[in-house]
Symmetry: C2
Subunit: 599 residues, 2 copies
């Protein structure tokens, strides 16, 4: 059993959920009418306990004993299956699902908060349900009733696991170039042929079967992204009772060996290689999901959810790293205050050194800010589907679209930096595998890569989200932020922050117009990553102003800590965007002008 | 055999050494009179070839098969010993040493440039000679003639290896708290008792014996740093012929298992544990080096050299990561230019995408800048000892003192960031252990920790270097930078850079005065890490202006690349110090005011 207080802070979750996001108000909506704070707390308590008892204890062991493949089957340490059995038995595969799918109809924001415990405790093991829930949501939304019965129900029961099969060895960020072929059969099914790369959870013996959601091209499909269709391809064909039977022609070609995230199998899968011949015929049997050639749009439904989940995972890793560093800094004596003149005086805990406090405060600001942002986004997903009036649902959806690239990229960048600071607080010990922080750092380094790289998020934000519908998304974000600014402007401590944030938002709006004023996408998007980072920092400043408002007028160490973290963010972090916006407004073309032969 | 062109760029080394630092002029000095460009080139060629043939090929294998300890002896892959034998046979242990110590009397700057090949190819294996040369230089400077004959000569022949034994399990950054005791014996020797932690190269079978340079306290020594003495403690006592004989009572208590840098044994050593009893008596036999209680000052002689070497190692890792990312980006097709409308058009190499060029240009600016700074510092060590007039020697020494914390910390921070960008360029592939960039990142993460953490370097710069002797060090740095500014101010392309740099130096001077104006060290030093980072970025801007001047008026892709990297640094990097200096000038006390109980 591990110490839950080193995984996440329940006190902070309560603050974010109940004091800031006011999630109890959700129980006034019909969908959540059976719930109250007691049932929410019960779920959070269960998650905290399961994470501490079943997930955290094997986190290092899974890292040091990664899954192996003998050409026939994947072997991994037994603790993974045990943890997932406990997760399944607690009903957590379907926590937010409809009652008629066997779910508990919990709000997404509660499900997400509960899930953060597992991501912080053991991101490698938590990835299996994360992927399964995402695949189930995708198929539930776009599949037929029969597909839902055949696959989604067993997935939400935790009997079948799921994957997303997008990338291929030659096509990662450029999905328009995928080559996997889907050949139509007389019975309405398809046979798939091709290779899929980087498939997390692509093979294992943890579930009765694995349901792959696969992007492929039908014969004669248009080139590029407009010719991609979505298929459901199970590892085993289901028999008449719905149980996994004959082996489908999806085979594991090999495991990828990663720097971190080692507990999750990451695979190269071959479809239609011919090792198996279902029904006596080659090709992996699959069924179309949704309309032909509309696969990418459908998959994006899942990717947006996955991107917020990736950000939440990054936040969770940053959070647990922070808690471990804090625990170490309180207990490690080393050195003396600069004012101490007697070298024989006893050393003090390193938390008393200003530079260590700087590193802890930065981690706190990154982790609590990132978790706050991702739970805010989860709250928006609830509003998007359950808010009472249509305008509010629409507003939530558009704000969520705008925030998604930031909710994915900001935690991936800054909570990774937080994990680096955690190593630094522990010094030499932090660099050893005897302490967990180096694993958090290795695990978290995946997050700026998968589910759309950092650069892809920048293109999404500046090239789509900020300008679509005449810039209405950016305008909506600005209005939302300015509403917070208005609430804070009367508070003596917060007024300077609100001024700084208002100025930042004004500068972002101007920078957006400036980079696009020539109508040249290549020039406008050359510095899209910088735009992403500038807007990201402004959004996090807003999240901190929101948290500071939720703490305003309240007394006690916890609230003083929130105020100090907000102060840190506004004094140390937000000013970093000044040079970024200067660069954007200058329409700097240094990278564009760089010639390949000059490298 | 590995590809040398992926380890370092010989073209760039030639530029830095011959076109910028004008190292051929050193051959006019008596000490280097036997040398010329041919002999310098010969050394660089040898290093490049040995690094490619003997060091790089086992870099990954050493990472994946770290040394083991069975309680009796350390076992490691045989390639390490083979590489070090080749290094020894090439005479590289003594490349810069006096002829009468068997050396070649090469300039330090050439030795350092040559050594960078080994650090880039395999930092784990390169650490053994790095530590040995450092220990030999320490003992050579402070030891007796007999100690030089007994230990230094075999070390410079590569027969004995060396270590630095400073830290203890309870005392890392706070060396005043070390507890290892040295008990005087009637014969003038000492017996040492205590434990030393994080000792790189602390045990192995790679050399005939190991010479430990150990900090310890004599009985009755004053408390704190004023009571620390330096001892030489060999693993084996030498017999009358000078050969290692009886085992001394220094034993390996255990190996540390690190995130990276795995090829270098890192150890906990016990002195005087009693497992061996040299001469029938307990305690590790050692001999005083230099004067009693002056050990820390002596050790700092070696630490300054080690700090520049750590920075050079960080630069080398950043450099090889950059070259690998560049090679991948040239060869990996993915996506199309934003202007391409036909999705069936062939994909382009990713180097053609602006964001990939940004990541490559940043890596180039970090790696070439950092290597340039560290070779500039190595050139200063030559001037410090061989410049013709005393004033010039003094000036070089003072400038070197000022630059040392930056030469250590800046590459450790930014070339680590460069390695992260290299992973990002390779995407999912970069995150796997099938490609070398993730190892560079893990290896490089040590550098902000050892040989004085990032925070310690900040205290050294702002608390000592910038203010000692009435601020003469900072003044000297300012004068040196302003001389470059003056040279660049007449150049149309460089004039804006020189203005920006002059402004930055002015602001740094003002910030230094402001933070110290109250005379309160605790307040002044609270943000010392930020000061270190601001001065560091300004120093690197200066290094880039120097390199741009060395390229000025020259035509060709190589020089265009230098100009573009300088432009990148001035447009993208130097402006980052604006908010840092604002923070310093505001005397922000956010971290000081943070209370422990608020976390």
């Amino acid at each position: 059993m591990s110490d839950a207080s080193l995984i996440l802070s329940r006190r902070d979750l309560d603050f974010i959920l109940y004091e800031w996001l006011e999630v109890e108000r959700l129980t006034q909506r019909a969908r959540f009418a059976d719930h109250d704070r007691v049932s929410f707390d019960g779920v959070l308590d269960t998650c905290a306990q399961l994470a501490a008892d079943m997930f955290a204890p094997h986190n290092r062991k899974a890292d040091q004993n990664e899954p192996t493949f003998d050409g026939e089957r994947v072997t991994m340490i037994p603790e993974v299956a045990e943890a997932l059995a406990a997760f399944r038995e607690a009903g957590l595969f379907s926590a937010s699902q409809d009652y008629d799918l066997g779910g508990l109809q919990l709000p997404n924001v509660i499900e997400r908060a509960g899930f953060a415990w597992f991501q912080a405790a053991n991101v490698g093991t938590a990835a299996y349900p994360f992927l399964t829930i995402g695949a189930a949501n995708l198929l539930k939304t776009h599949g037929t009733a029969a597909q839902v019965d055949a696959y989604v129900r067993p997935m939400l029961e935790g009997r079948f696991f799921g994957t997303m099969c997008l990338s291929e060895p030659q096509a990662g960020s450029s999905l328009g170039d995928i080559r996997t072929r889907a050949v139509a059969q007389a019975d309405g099914s398809y046979r798939l042929f091709g290779s899929k790369m980087w498939i997390s959870g692509g093979d294992h013996d943890l579930s009765e079967t694995i349901v792959h959601m696969v992007l492929a091209r039908m014969e004669g499909a248009p080139a590029g992204v407009k010719g991609i269709s979505l298929f459901v391809v199970p590892k085993h064909l289901l028999d008449e009772s719905g149980a996994p039977g004959e082996r489908n022609d999806v085979v594991l070609a090999g495991l990828n060996h990663k720097m971190g995230y080692r507990g999750t199998t990451n695979t190269l899968l071959n479809f239609g290689e011919g090792r198996h011949a279902p029904g006596g015929q080659g090709g992996a049997v699959g069924w179309l999901v949704g309309a032909p050639h509309q696969g990418l749009a459908a998959m994006f439904h899942m990717m947006n959810e996955a991107r917020i989940g990736v950000g939440a995972g990054a936040a969770a890793l940053g959070y647990t790293g922070y808690l471990h560093a804090l625990d170490y800094a309180r207990g490690r004596p080393q050195g003396r205050p600069l004012s101490a003149k007697d070298p024989a005086s006893p050393p003090v805990p390193i938390i008393q050194h200003a530079d260590v406090r700087r590193m802890l405060l930065a981690q706190k600001a990154y982790a609590e800010g990132a978790l706050g942002l991702n739970l805010y986004c989860a709250r928006l997903t609830d509003d998007q589907t359950t808010a009472e009036d249509a305008a509010e649902r629409d507003r939530a959806g558009r704000l969520l679209d705008m925030l998604t690239p930031i909710a994915k990229s900001w935690p991936s960048q800054w909570c990774l930096e937080g994990n680096s600071l955690a190593i630094q607080v522990l010094g030499g010990y932090g660099y050893t595998r005897d302490y967990p922080v180096e694993q958090f750092y290795r695990d978290n380094r995946l997050n700026p890569i998968h589910e759309g790289t950092h650069g892809i998020q920048g293109l999404d934000l500046l090239g789509r989200k900020a300008i679509m519908d005449g810039g209405s998304g950016l305008k909506l974000l600005g209005e939302t932020v300015m509403a917070t600014v208005a609430r804070a402007s009367g508070d003596g401590e917060l007024a300077p922050y609100s001024e700084a944030l208002a100025e930042a938002m004004g500068r972002i709006g101007a920078a957006t117009a400036t980079v696009w004023q020539d109508g040249d996408p290549e020039r406008a998007l050359a510095n899209a990553s910088t735009y992403l980072e500038a807007v990201g920092h402004a959004v996090l400043a807003w999240i901190w102003l929101e948290q500071a408002l939720a703490a305003a007028g309240k007394t006690g160490d916890f609230y003083d800590g929130k105020r100090q973290a907000a102060r840190y963010f506004f004094r140390w972090e937000l000013p970093k965007i000044g040079p970024m916006l200067d660069l954007l407004v200058s329409k700097d073309d240094t990278t564009l002008a760089m010639q390949d032969r000059w490298f």
